[in-house]
Amino acid sequence: MTAYFIQAFIYLCAAVIAVPLAKRFGLGSVLGYLIAGVVIGPIIGLVGSETNTLQHFAEFGVVMMLFLVGLELEPRMLWDMRNKLIALGGLQIGLTTAIITAAGFYFGLSWSIALTVGLIFALSSTAIVLQTFNEKALSKTEGGKNAFSVLLFQDIAVIPMLALIPLLALPELVEQAQAAVGQAAQQHEELSLVAGLPGWAYGIVVMLAIAAVVVGGHYLSRPLFRYVANSGLREIFTATALMLVIGIAALMSLVGLSPALGTFLAGVVLANSEFRHELESNIEPFKGLLLGLFFITVGAGIDFGVLASNIGPVLGITAGVMLVKALVLFVLALIFRIKNSDRWLFALSLAQAGEFGFVLLSYTVQNHVIPTDLAQMLSLVVALSMFLTPGLFIFFDKVIVPRYEHSENDREADEITEKGTVIIAGIGRFGQMVNRFLRANKIDTVVLDHQISQVENLKKINVKSFYGDATQPDLLHTAGIEDATMLVIAIDNNERAVELTKYVKHTYPKVKIFARAFDRGHHFELKHAGADFIISETYHSALELGKEALISLGVHPFKAEQKKATLRELELCYKDSLFESWKKKTEDSKYSAHFRELFIELETAIAKAMKSEHFDEQAKVERGWTPPPKDYEEKINRSE
């Protein structure tokens, strides 16, 4: 136990030191983790053999990441992508594999080994690329979207690769390993539902598993989440989310499919669910930590001994592979008309080999396709290329982007619309009205509420709404607060509304805040916190009722309308000075008990102001449409 604690502490420590440093120097978190890994692994030697086991565990971060990616992709969007996915991804894998295979053959590898190496290097790193896209907000760019299509296709392509590789086994390697074969077979025989099934039955099982994920995700998840949400226990919701992801991963592994693909599919199915944001904010931290761990293990796994003795070939192959991959991607970008800096982003971001490379390499060794020493060297190539990727992103940021900055400014503006432009926190009676009004005017809204019944009622009438606590920073983040133009705060908790205003104004100063206040005190607090527009919830309805009362008592409706406007103006006149005196009072006195007295004071001040000369003047000698005096013509005639 003690050993675990120490190890965990070392990993965390390395991450805590290295990652913020890397970010500070603009290197991105991925490079930070990698460096941390190198330091605690090969350099200081604090960690060692366990990294391999850890890596398998940490690969689960990739699974979670694909689940989150799936959540962001509605089924319709995925369907719209299908052509690009197949054409772009297929060509990338095909061309890259072909060129690398040819090169391997040229350098004297047997064709089967060359082909295996080609397949392995055709894959890119979903983990690094998507994480970096996220961090640098590149996911929604053309380059980012296309890169994602390719990554998704690669993830799918891993499955046939796993089927193909054993067929390439080398007879002499098999012979060599004959002795150890029993052991190897045992290792290979993991828990499986499909081992030994005939082809058609295997097909059926796979279809059933996928159907289970889709149908279950669609019909069962909602009642389940509702049941859990109603309990009001946050950690149980987190447990449910984890259960879901891990369960799907297990199911997929059992039928021999990629867990990442399975959870991705589940994510897509849940993309339309009202629980999407809550799921995202629950899974996100796990994903981040596991991915970080994964990157550390990549760094720690670099074997400096092997590297030192093969430094020439390793560097050469790495450079060669990255060049080939980048070139293929660049040509594809030309063919598919990906323009400007996006073309570069597409080519540079996917130029590395990926984490599936490790998996496939150990798999090929197990299946006697590649000799161990070659696999070890290639493993280094994969790691090194991943290590260099953050450098390529920095190159993209510092060199490529500035070159295209001008030509792209106009175009980027209209891509923001994807996330709701207005986030409405709190969808009670007040928030609902605001939402209806904005949507009726074609404004995109994202609605958040912590009461599942409200969210469900709205879902029924087709309002896009999500379950979750709007005052949680991570939920706001997943709701897209960075890209939102406005946050409407209509939650039913005074203090939290103020806190939320403070937080958002501080963290995202560009987001406008329109807030609903309960009374004048709350109004002032919100104003103090920085809200851009505040309305007291009863103000207009009370005025309106007063106006209708006047009409019913015989005042002409137009007149009553003017009276109402006059009263509003008067209040407005006094608002600022009232606010100032409120501010002074609150800053002076420590006890909120003083508020009440203060407001009584303020109300008296307003009442007094209304009776003042100024108001009387407006009320009696009315200014609007005053006819000229009776004898005005004489005066005009005289002056003529």
């Binding site: 609007g624 004898d631 013509e633 005009i636």
Partner: protein, 205 residues
């Protein structure tokens, strides 16, 4: 033969009725007339949000349209302008299919602070009321309505003191009846500077 009667629509615009000395009783007279639909525009649309469909339907249902208002800066009060801008749409009041108003009769019943003498080329207002209302006259022409000369109460600020209001109201009642029963000499009514002078001569027995 009541079914043969023309239907009259009075659109009344006065933003400060609690201080109105002449328009208010004039409008009341309209409300009491059996052949008249009397609409107080400021009452119906205190926020100026005019219901276009409703107003167009009203126009379709009536044969005589009367704008009734105090002269404000030689023109109508704001809401009547708003009403024109919104209701007289292309395709309804003018344009290829815009024939809803063709053949109807249109006139203004107004009150003016200035005296009749002032509304002459030699007077301090330099133009006659008919001249000043030419935008409305042309609007009637474009929409195919027969424009009658305006029914005016001059020196309206002194009308109560000089006991002229009741006579004016009586004249208005007669005018409305004549319009409803179609016993008005339209040709003459179109050509006069104002309708008031010798109004009784215009009634065909």
């Amino acid at each position: 033969m009541p079914e043969d009667k023309k239907k009259i629509l009075v659109l009344f615009a006065h933003p400060a009725q609690e201080r109105s000395e002449v328009n208010k009783p004039l409008f009341t007279a309209c409300q009491q007339h059996s052949d008249v639909t009397a609409i107080d525009l400021y009452r119906e649309y205190p926020t100026f949000h005019i219901n276009i469909d409703k107003e167009q339907q009203r126009l379709r249902e009536h044969d005589v349209i009367i704008f009734m208002f105090p002269l404000y800066w030689y023109s109508t009060p704001a809401i009547l302008k708003q009403w024109q801008d919104l209701v007289l749409e292309y395709g309804f009041a003018y344009g290829p299919n815009g024939n809803a108003l063709i053949g109807k009769t249109f006139l203004c019943a107004i009150t003016a602070g200035g005296s009749e003498a002032a509304y002459q080329s030699e007077g301090y207002n330099h133009f006659t009321v008919r001249e000043l209302l030419q935008p409305l006259e042309q609007t009637a022409s474009l929409t195919g309505m027969n424009y009658l000369s305006p029914f005016v109460l001059f020196s309206a600020r002194n009308a109560v003191e000089e006991n002229r209001v009741n006579a004016h109201i009586t004249n208005l009642r007669h005018l409305l009846t004549a319009l409803a029963e179609d016993t008005l000499d339209i040709e003459t009514a179109r050509s006069l500077p104002v309708l008031n002078s010798n109004l009784s001569d215009l009634f065909i027995a």
